[in-house]
C-alpha cells in the first residue's frame, strides 16, 4: 500500500491528474469522516474535505517522501477543521442546545418522513446522540477521540498529525474519554 502511494505521489508531483484522482478516491471517505466528526455538519465537512485535497495538491512539493502520506493529509484536514471551528460565529444550528434539555438535540423533535423499522430508528437516534455528544467536547479533545476511536490510529500517528508529544496526546485521550463517559453514561 505505502509503495503504491509513494508511486502515485511521485506522479502527482510530475503533474499527473489521474494519479491525484486515485489518491482522492483512496482517502476521501476517511478525510470526510475526520472533518464530519470535527465540525459536526455534513455540508461543511464536505467543503473542508474538498479544501483538504486542494491544499494537498497545491502543496504536494512540500510533502517529504520519507513521511507517511495519510499523516500529512489528516493533518491538513484536522487543521482546517480546527480553523473552521475557531472562525465559526456562534449561531443557531439545528443541533444547538435547547435550554433545559441538556443532551437532547432539536433534530430529535423534527419528525422524519421516512418510514423506518423501529430498531433502525432507534439505531439512528443513538448515532445522532453520540455524534452530538462528541461535538460538545472542546476541539482539542474532539480531535483525539476522532483520530483514536473513529479512525483507529495509534498514539504515535496522532502525535504526528497533531504535532504534539505523545504524552500530551495520551493525557488528552484520558480526559476526553472521561468527559465522554459522563455524557454517555445514561445510555
Amino acid at each position: 500500500m505505502e509503495s503504491k502511494i509513494k508511486r502515485l505521489i511521485k506522479k502527482i508531483k510530475k503533474g499527473d491528474q489521474a494519479a491525484f484522482e486515485e489518491i482522492v478516491n483512496l482517502y476521501k471517505n476517511q478525510v470526510y469522516n475526520i472533518c464530519y466528526r470535527m465540525v459536526g455538519l455534513p455540508h461543511e465537512a464536505e467543503d473542508l474535505a474538498q479544501e483538504t485535497f486542494l491544499r494537498a495538491y497545491t502543496h504536494i512539493d512540500q510533502f517529504k517522501s520519507d513521511k507517511t502520506f495519510s499523516t500529512w493529509l489528516y493533518r491538513i484536514a484536522t487543521n482546517l477543521s480546527i480553523d473552521y471551528l475557531r472562525k465559526k460565529r456562534p449561531s443557531t444550528y439545528l443541533d444547538a442546545d435547547i435550554p433545559g434539555t441538556e443532551g437532547f438535540t432539536m433534530y430529535m423533535h423534527v419528525p422524519s418522513d421516512e418510514r423506518l423499522p423501529e430498531d433502525r430508528l432507534i439505531e439512528n437516534e443513538k448515532q445522532k446522540i453520540i455524534h452530538y455528544e462528541i461535538n460538545q467536547l472542546p476541539p482539542k479533545y474532539r480531535s483525539v477521540i476522532v483520530l483514536k476511536y473513529l479512525q483507529d490510529l495509534s498514539l504515535k500517528e496522532i502525535s504526528n498529525i497533531l504535532n504534539l508529544p505523545e504524552t500530551t496526546v495520551k493525557t488528552r485521550v484520558h480526559r476526553a474519554r472521561e468527559a465522554l463517559r459522563k455524557r454517555l453514561r445514561h445510555f
Binding site: 510530475k14 503533474g15 491525484f20 474538498q50 485535497f53 448515532q127 485521550v173
Partner: protein, 82 residues
C-alpha cells in the same frame, strides 16, 4: 470517578492496553469489591464501544469530480502557487 488515583491510573493503563498482567489482575481484584470503580470502568468501556460503533458515512458521489474541477491544471515540472 475511580476511588483513588492509583485505580484511575490502572483503569487508564488497561484501557490503553498497556497494563501488565499483574496490573490487570490488581484492578480486577479491586473491582470485584469496589462497586464504584467497577461502574466507572464499565461506563468508560461502554463509551469507547459506542464510539467504535459509529457509522462512517461516505462522502457524496460527486465528491471526486468536484475536487478535480477546482484543482488548477499543472504543467509538467511546474511548481504550483495558489
Amino acid at each position: 470517578m475511580a476511588c483513588s488515583l492509583e485505580m484511575k491510573r490502572l483503569i487508564d493503563a488497561v484501557l490503553d492496553e498497556e497494563a501488565t498482567a499483574e496490573e490487570q489482575q490488581k484492578l480486577k481484584t479491586h473491582m470485584h469489591d469496589c462497586r464504584h470503580c467497577r461502574q466507572h470502568y464499565n461506563q468508560l468501556v461502554q463509551s469507547i464501544n459506542l464510539l467504535k460503533g459509529l457509522e462512517q458515512p461516505n462522502v457524496s458521489e460527486h465528491f471526486t469530480a468536484s475536487v478535480l474541477s477546482v484543482v488548477p491544471i499543472r504543467e509538467k515540472g511546474q511548481t504550483l502557487k495558489r
